[in-house]
């Protein structure tokens, strides 16, 4: 592996988007104005090219495919322990980077047209592109960082960009509120994440991945001597440390999980993601579907050693993922805002990825992360295109039958929806099926939840499609709808190619498998093996045993694949019946179960619950603190100052200034002294 080339490439991946962002931000307001997209397109596009080159380099490197690049010393905790700014290049990074930068490039190109009205750039055009560039830079740090502090840096920085971009239309109160909510809910998760990092430092005295993971592995294996030499302590200390490690790793894992739950919008911290749709559509596509929200999954896969140390933690992750997947899918059934439907769908799909990680199928989770990035970005960009054409309206009740007005958007979104619904042979089918399979291996119930969610997914996705594109042609009043221009359609087309074919990097052609020749666990999984090894070590490698013979044996063996293919088609068919053939059916359902509909429409009242249970008590506590300041503490201080004042007051009455009084006092005092002297002698 060509180290200097890889070093240059990875530094380039970081610097190009940052340079683009700085250019757009600094030169945009005065000089570039409507051309502010160019530096960012070049910066992010250049990073994408570099990332692809990097991927090929790492693929070509074969077994020895991990490289640590130390850029400089950042800060230290005393002694010789420094936290470095260091980059780690390994298969996981190499896969994540092209996904992030590639989709970002398409989104930036798309935004060039999207962020304009009648070819005039919107207010804040340069700000938008500067933030996008900054986001790509931050996300690349998150993915490239070689220690937990850089991970945390990237983690917070993408959160910041998300905050700034959700609040892009800051004059809209709902957008400002959504931005704040996103940042805060994430911070709650990051609270645990930060504590996890502290506990890692406490335990190991280091924060770089290599040392921590190696030490954790040695500690779990109770390889005391190797551990002692790794972090230069003596053997007795090392044997104590080994015990500490095995008892602490589950706690660390749970703390880190808090961060992942916040960032990847899982129960119970998912509430920020639907509101985040207040941001412009390209932002939803890039940040809140394809890249940032998957950081939690990236982190869990990266820290496989820590997470797999405890089986119950893994089970917890699986249950959490499954619960989120089905919970969000039920909410998506009744929403009418196209972007919110997609947001709940994202939460649900992220739940699948959690399920995959929890079921020890880390490779499949990353696979789903990748395919999902393509088709969900496509769907959000498509929704943006619809919104663009509808003059900002995104409620599916206010338009319909758009397939003739927006033919290209329709076609690409159809591909995206089919991929999301898990339609056979499209991207989502392969990756989702693997996760469901792993879930069945883990526990039947998890698998069943996975399958039911797949059915719901197919239904709500096509409900959205049928409501928006089929039926009678309706557009909001005063809108002259038209298909978007090429800057929007080219990214859509590119992404739909990805939505069709990206599944095949995780599939290999061989006897058995789906339709007799497509076997899951393809080259992607093989490539990721160095990273996912801790998971594999714990998994009962069920897939290895499954080499079918002949077409029917394969069907019997791969019944699950056929079942999920069937469920996907069934979901689409039910949606077709409900929203195209018999449009009165949903109304009847709604009238029959008004409570259920009400609960779903209001998203199970989770936001209201949080407000009543957390936000307002805290505010009350804050008011109490302030009142305590004003009355209690200052009251005590005032009371203390009263004492000398009273002292002074009481003595002041004696200072009357009349000679008679003083004379009397002197005489009385003298008499008293004489009496005392006489009595003592």
């Amino acid at each position: 592996m060509n180290e200097s080339l890889i070093t240059n490439l990875s530094v380039l991946i970081l610097l190009l988007p940052a340079a683009g962002a700085i250019c757009a931000g600094a030169l945009g307001p005065r000089h570039l104005k409507g051309n502010s997209h160019w530096p960012v397109i070049f910066g992010v596009g250049g990073a994408a090219l570099a990332a692809i080159t990097l991927l090929f380099q790492v693929v070509g490197a074969g077994e020895d495919s991990s490289l640590l690049i130390v850029l400089y010393q950042w800060f230290g905790a005393g002694g010789n322990s420094w936290f470095n700014v260091e980059l780690l290049i390994d298969p996981l990074t190499a896969v994540m980077l092209p996904v992030v930068t590639g989709i970002a490039t398409l989104v930036v190109i798309y935004s060039k047209e999207y962020m304009r009205h009648h070819d005039h750039p919107e207010r804040g055009y340069e700000r938008f592109f500067a933030f996008l560039g900054l986001f790509v830079f931050s996300m690349c740090i998150l993915v490239l960082g070689g220690n937990f502090l850089l991970l945390y840096l990237g983690w917070e920085a993408v959160g910041l960009c998300s905050y700034l971009l959700i609040g892009f239309y800051y004059q809209k109160p709902s957008a400002a509120a959504a931005a704040k909510k996103a940042f805060l809910v994430n911070r709650i998760g990051d609270f645990g994440f930060g504590l996890g990092i502290l506990l890692i430092y406490n335990t190991f005295g280091h924060l770089d991945y290599a040392t921590v993971f190696e030490a954790a592995k040695l500690g779990l294996d109770h390889d005391v001597e190797a551990l002692a030499s790794l972090i230069s302590i003596d053997v007795i200390q090392a044997s104590e440390l080994a015990l500490t490690i095995s008892s602490r790793l589950p706690i660390i894992a749970l703390l880190l999980l808090c961060g992942a739950v916040g960032k990847s919008a899982q129960l119970p911290l998912y509430v920020w993601l639907p509101d985040a749709m207040e941001g412009p559509s390209p932002v939803s596509a890039l940040i809140h579907a394809a890249t940032m929200v998957t950081a939690g999954i990236y982190m869990m896969v990266r820290c496989g050693v820590i997470f797999t140390a405890s089986d119950s933690v893994m089970m917890f992750i699986a249950i959490l993922g499954a619960a989120t997947a089905i919970f969000a899918a039920t909410i998506a059934l009744v929403q009418t805002d196209m972007k919110r439907i997609l947001a709940y769908s994202t939460i649900s799909q992220l739940g699948y990825m959690f399920l995959g990680v929890g079921c020890l199928a880390a490779g499949s989770a990353v696979f789903h992360l990748m395919t999902h990035a393509f088709f969900k970005a496509l769907l959000f960009l498509g929704a943006g295109s619809v919104m663009h054409a509808m003059g900002g309206v995104i409620d599916v009740r206010r338009f319909g039958g758009l397939k003739r007005i927006l033919p290209v958007t329709y076609l690409t979104m159809l591909i995206g929806s089919a991929a999301l619904a898990g339609f056979p042979l499209l991207a989502g089918f392969w990756s989702k099926d693997e996760i469901v399979h792993a879930a069945f291996n883990r526990h039947v119930l998890l698998g069943v939840v996975g399958l039911v969610t797949a059915l719901l997914t197919a239904f709500y996705t096509f409900r959205m499609m049928f409501l928006a594109f089929w039926g009678e042609e309706r557009v909001p009043e005063g809108v002259s709808a038209h298909e978007s221009g090429k800057w929007i359609l080219i990214p859509l087309g590119t992404l739909s190619i990805g939505a069709i074919f990206s599944g095949y990097v995780g599939v290999h052609v061989q006897g058995g498998g789906f339709l007799g020749f497509l076997e899951p666990h393809g080259s992607l999984h093989h490539f990721l093996e160095p990273v996912t090894a801790p998971f594999a070590a714990h998994a009962h490698d069920a897939h290895a045993a499954e080499v079918g013979h002949g077409f029917f044996a394969a069907i019997a063996h791969h019944w699950l694949m056929y079942l999920s293919a069937l469920l996907s088609i069934l979901g689409i068919a039910v949606a077709y019946v409900c929203y195209v053939r018999r449009p009165w059916l949903p109304q009847v359902l709604r009238a029959t179960f008004p409570q259920a509909h009400h609960v779903l429409l209001n998203k199970y009242f989770v936001d209201e619950f949080y407000h009543a249970a957390i936000v307002s008590p805290l505010r009350k506590l804050g008011r109490f603190c302030y009142q305590a300041d004003v009355f209690l503490i200052d009251g005590i201080v005032w009371t203390i100052t009263v004492i000398p004042r009273m002292f002074g007051q009481s003595w002041r009455t004696l200072q009357t200034g009349t000679l008679q009084g003083y004379g009397l006092g002197m005489a009385a005092g003298l008499a008293l002294i004489i009496v005392l002297v006489m009595m003592t002698t």
Partner: protein, 575 residues
């Protein structure tokens, strides 16, 4: 060159006084001339501070006990040399950063007053410069009496600044500020006298001295019994805790901040609060190691209470300035927490935190002042959507907010993370130091401060910057020659701070490289687990003390006490 390095600290301290004299006697009554003279005075001081920092990093001049640019001359003595109080100056890797902070913030505060101060300008700028002198003096002093004189001297100019140029309740605010601080300082002085008296009676020097290095050596030698250490510690802490301000003696701060003029708030939050934490690091912790360890739990609980309490109280404020003031209570809690971890990480974090809080909070007060000058209100119910009206201001406010809530990549993060690392790993020994008193149990509640910090700061941003535009009628008021958005002068004030926030966040290594050796030598020397290099270290200490005292008997005594110390700590900790 030796002459320069001998006198540069004196020049640093007295340059602002010279400037004040020039403003007072050398200016006409034209405000523009007065303020430019004041500006020149403070800029020259900044130049001198930078020179001093440069000389220190070059190792120029006399270095005694690890204090660079050392200078001493007699101040008070009696006939037979029983009293030995000197004019001793010197700085190390900790104080140099606080000097630089002071040197930077003063010209900015003066510059920020250009548009807002028109009446009695001469007095105003003189007082600001005198205040600067006092603050610089505290950070340069190596004699406790000198330290105390400067420490108290800062009160007077600030008292008049708040009382004369403040808001509606300025008289009450000034009085409250003065009384709280003086009440604390009296106890501090009692502690100082007790300490000096103890050293005089039981120490080896045989003179009544207030020389800080001597007292530190005496304190570290273990000659002060634990019971006495506790009392001295409580005395010293009383004054410092009010200054910091530590919960629950913080109530003077919000009032003082809301009533003070912008420059007063900037210097109060930026530098004056650090006098308290600096006192901890320079005096209380090194001189009274056992007292510090005994009270560490108590101090940490108070600090954490302050973190949470300050944050919650900040959240319910309607006045932006009061919100920032309460945020200071919260942040300074972090700063105190870090040092009582008695770990290199926490200690470094505390010092970083002092500088970072000084930058970001001062900048927040500057921005709030700029808003106030235009809208004549700081009530968040009357302000809203200012991002549209003042986009440049919005950029700065967001940068400083992010710095204040510890976003990684900006300066606040480094200090915060080190404080938390120090606190959490206080009980561990893998950093080569003996286990400290705190631990994960303290880090967890302290870390909630990070979440709460984000809550109230973003709450403030959302209300002030975002949403529909909301302005009081008749505003923005541009009658004082202001533009609706920030003008060049105001951008010039905020830009250096913003750049520093970014540089310190990305590349804090120079600061850490200078802070850590200083702390290792001056604060945590007794907590390092002795390894192979302790002989070399002892040599080092002896060589330096030779330099310092130059008295053969004393030298022997010092060597003895050092050996005692080594033996003692070896015994105590079983290494």
């Amino acid at each position: 060159m030796d002459f320069v390095s001998n006198w540069i600290l004196t020049a640093v301290i007295f340059m602002p006084i010279v400037g004040a004299a020039y403003v007072w006697f050398g200016s006409s009554s034209r405000v523009s001339q007065i303020r430019s003279n004041a500006m020149i005075g403070s800029m020259l001081t900044l130049l001198l501070v930078i020179c001093a920092a440069g000389l220190l990093s070059q190792g120029q001049g006399q270095t005694v006990d690890g204090y660079g640019l050392y200078h001493t001359s007699g101040w008070m003595a009696d006939g037979d040399n029983r009293i030995d109080i000197n004019y001793t100056l010197g700085i190390d890797g900790v104080s140099v950063w606080l000097l630089l902070l002071t040197g930077l913030l003063c010209p900015l505060a003066i510059w920020a007053s250009f548009s807002s101060i028109t009446n009695r300008a001469k007095e105003y700028y003189c007082l600001l410069l005198l205040l600067e002198s006092g603050m610089l003096g505290v950070f340069c002093s190596l004699d406790l009496l000198l330290f105390y004189v400067f420490f108290e001297f800062t009160l007077i100019p600030l008292f008049f600044l708040i009382g004369t140029w403040g808001g509606q309740e300025r008289a009450r605010a000034a009085t409250k500020f003065f009384l709280f601080t003086v009440a604390g300082s009296v106890l501090t002085f009692a502690g100082v006298l007790y300490l000096a008296y103890h050293q005089y009676n039981y120490g080896d020097s045989g003179v009544f001295t207030l020389d800080i290095p001597t007292l530190v050596r005496y304190g570290q030698s273990g000659l002060i019994p634990a019971g006495v250490q506790w009392w001295i510690f409580l005395g010293l802490v009383a004054g410092f805790a009010v200054k910091v301000p530590l919960f629950p003696v913080h109530t003077w701060l919000p009032l003082a901040h809301t009533e003070a003029p912008t420059a007063g708030s900037v210097l109060l939050a930026g530098v004056l609060l650090k006098l308290g934490t600096y006192g901890f690091i320079r005096l209380a912790l090194p001189i009274l190691p056992e007292g510090a360890e005994a009270f560490a739990h108590f101090m940490a609980v108070m600090a954490i209470a302050g973190v949470i309490y300050g944050a919650l109280a900040a959240w319910v404020q309607e006045d932006v300035k009061k919100l920032v003031a309460y945020s200071s209570v919260s942040h300074m809690g972090f700063c105190v927490l870090g040092m009582f971890s008695l770990k290199m990480a926490g200690m470094t974090g505390s010092v970083m935190y002092m500088v970072n809080h000084g930058l970001s909070t001062a900048a927040l007060f500057l921005v709030v002042g700029m808003i106030y000058e235009r809208y004549h209100t700081r009530d968040m119910n009357q302000l809203g959507g200012l991002a549209k009206q003042m986009p440049v201001m919005a950029v700065f406010l967001i940068i400083f907010t992010l710095s204040s809530i510890g976003l990684p990549g900006l300066n606040g993060f480094i200090g915060e993370m080190l404080v938390l690392i120090g606190t959490a790993s206080s009980t561990e020994t893998h950093d080569g130091m003996i286990a400290g008193p705190l631990g994960m149990a303290y880090a967890v509640p302290a870390a909630t401060g990070i979440v709460l910090g984000a809550i109230y700061m973003l709450w403030m941003c959302r209300r002030v910057l975002f949403g529909p535009v909301n302005e009081p009628p008749g505003t923005p008021d541009t009658s004082a020659g202001l533009s609706p958005d920030l003008n060049g002068r105001e951008i010039g004030i905020l830009t250096p701070i913003a750049i520093l926030c970014l540089i310190i966040g990305v590349w804090p290594k120079p600061m850490i490289d200078s802070i850590q050796p200083a702390i290792e030598q001056h604060v945590l020397a007794s907590r390092i687990i002795e390894g192979d290099n302790n002989a070399a270290e002892a040599d080092n200490i002896i060589r330096e003390s030779q330099h310092a005292v130059g008295n053969k008997n004393l030298k022997a005594a010092v060597i003895e006490s050092e050996n005692d110390k080594l033996a003692d700590s070896g015994e105590r900790h079983g290494y």
